[in-house]
Amino acid sequence: MANRNSSRRTLAWREARSGYLFIIPWVIGFVVFTVGPMVSSLYFSFTDYNIIDAPRWVGLANYARVFQGVPEYLMSGDPRQLKDPIFWKSLQVTLYFAVLALPLNLVMSFVLAILLNQKIFGLHIWRSIYFLPSIISGVAVTLLWVRILNPRMGILNSFLRDIGVQSPPGWLQDPDWAIPALVIMGLWGVGGSMIIYLAGLQGIPTDLYDAVKVDGANVWQSFWNVTFPMMTPVLFYNVVLGLITTFQYFTEVYVATGGSGGPQRATMFYNLYLYQNAFRYFDMGYASVMAWLLFLIVLLLTGLIFRSSEAWVYYEGQLKGR
């Protein structure tokens, strides 16, 4: 008996060892290119480090710089009380963008997926048309949209003037419209999420629709009682992914504004300010602080979404109370 157990353990170890050997290259890459830099940046966040000279330990000074002046600001409302008002501005801009962009992207991609799940002529062509923009490089798309959104000669404002809009928005040149302009730009790429929704829609068992039809449900009732609940896992996935992507927003705003975050810091996204601290001001310590704070913010928000999912995400076959 003991020999049999020993034999089983040896076999199990041999099988596991093969698996470990296969994943070693990935593990090495993960350690060297992800975990290693993360640990390094955590260390740098406690130092004054300008890349060229050796890091100098400063303790919590970089962290203090972020939060210094916050109580005074909360009492007075004067942003000049903040030690680093641009940090808080960048957070505000990023949150504003997230609040606008995330729901719009989710709704639009979901609606498109529903529309493209119908039996219509040329369905495959329509699906390709809506998906194609999402696979084009961010830089090229941004340059294209900068021209489309030009207030003087862009086709969007030309169209608005043609339909009678006297003073169309200044878009990327107007601090009030710069973020909405970037949101509009982002809708160009909803094809990626649309495909995921489409796959989810096609996975809904048709007998559920037959059942509600028998019960006399109309289109809306059918959607609300079958389609939407069955799609909540996919929606959940896209919400989490969309949140992470939104907080990592950088390429488009860097290309569109030349890295300035203008006009008047209206597009000073968190990652853009982080980049400026790292590569314009050579303040790697402070940039590392920003990176870790971003990690914690996204972790917190993702955790909240996961916690909330118990209330609104339905998994087929799940039993309540278990």
Partner: protein, 463 residues
Amino acid sequence: MQTKRWRMVLLTVVWLLIMSACGATTGGDAAGPASGDPVKVTIFVGFGTGTDPQQVTAQEELAKKFNESHTDIQIEFMIVPYDEATERYLAMVSGGNAPQLVGPMGISTIAQYLDQWEDITPYVAKDGYSLDDFYGPAVTLNKYPTVNAGLPLGLFPSFIFYNKDAFDAAGIAYPPQDYNDKSWDINTMRNNAIQLTIDGNGNNATSADFDPANIVQWGYADTWTDFRGMMTMFGASGVGRPTSEDYKTAQVNSSEWLYGAKWVHDGVHKDHFMPDAAGQGAIDADSGDPFGGGHVAMWYSHTWYMSEGLTEVPFKWDIAPLFYNQKGERIARVHADLFAIPKTAKNKDQAWEVMKWLVSPEQIVEVCKIYGCLPARKSTEAQFLDSLRTRFPGINHAVIFEAIAYLDDPNHESYVPETGKLGDALNNSLTTIYTDPEVDVEELLNITNEDVQIILDEYWVNQ
């Protein structure tokens, strides 16, 4: 047995992967060249001019010329797009693989990385190298608080490029080319610029039917510069420097800079002879070249524009001095370029030899033709003038050389503490001026002055 063999193969492959990942980077310089091998000097180009296709070709030919005449040193130009230059350079330096020479670079780039450059003072002293042939301002501009960063390569004086056809169409006399003509002042320029600003229906900005939303030609622009560059001409005590001489007090809201900022704001939003941010975006989208694309009748820029733009211009053009400012002074900003040696580079002695070769009387004119600069050597003035006459016939070349006498000192790119942060604070004001017709310019400058003061105070606390 076969399974065991496959496992051995797999283990070997994995081990090889690990070894290659952990192996030293190739670069060739870690162990140094073998005795007798020529030393390689890499010249990093990307922080300024030098990345256009015709410039790349010219630099390759220059490298070939050097390499054929030297057996102990070989040079190679490493061309990096401007947008990537910072990251690539910093990656090289932090990886212990700094290039031997960096340039051509302007004063602002030198100032931004001030702690990184080798001080060439000992090299000059050791060789007994004479600086007498260089223009005095060229030498002075390259001296910084803590370092003499390099031998002067060239100067890029500034002046007005003007579209003669536009002036003819408007029936306006060309700007005078005599530097002593006091009638060419800021008010005259403004009046001319307003008449030269045309909308899509052919109305100029003095017409009641003028449509500022449909401008096809602006009278004047000075957009390829930053806030300091724009304000330099207005004659503040610090000229192009936004602080006191000891870098401790912000002086952004001086009366001269306030006048200048208001003048620009009015020019953009009230008189409409300067393009706003949307206009600048439209110009970029159309041709990317405000003057060569025919969008601007008078364009204030430097000689480097002559090598980057002006390739096939469909109209007659010439150049004129910058106008006198509101105080009756003329301050025409200048750029100055050089090559510098990073402190952490290897083979610095060889880099010094290459630097001397690039700015030698025999080579400096050819090098400056690539980059569009005026050679910093007085003895080469005639030779360079001949090349200008060949390349740009029909314009008044004396305007270029005479502009040197009016350069800005302190320079608008000169060192200030926290160069990047301070520059961003100032340029945030400039974008506000370009984008907000209703902004209170005085209040804006006062706020910017406070921001700059905070930056300076923080810097000095940490010293």
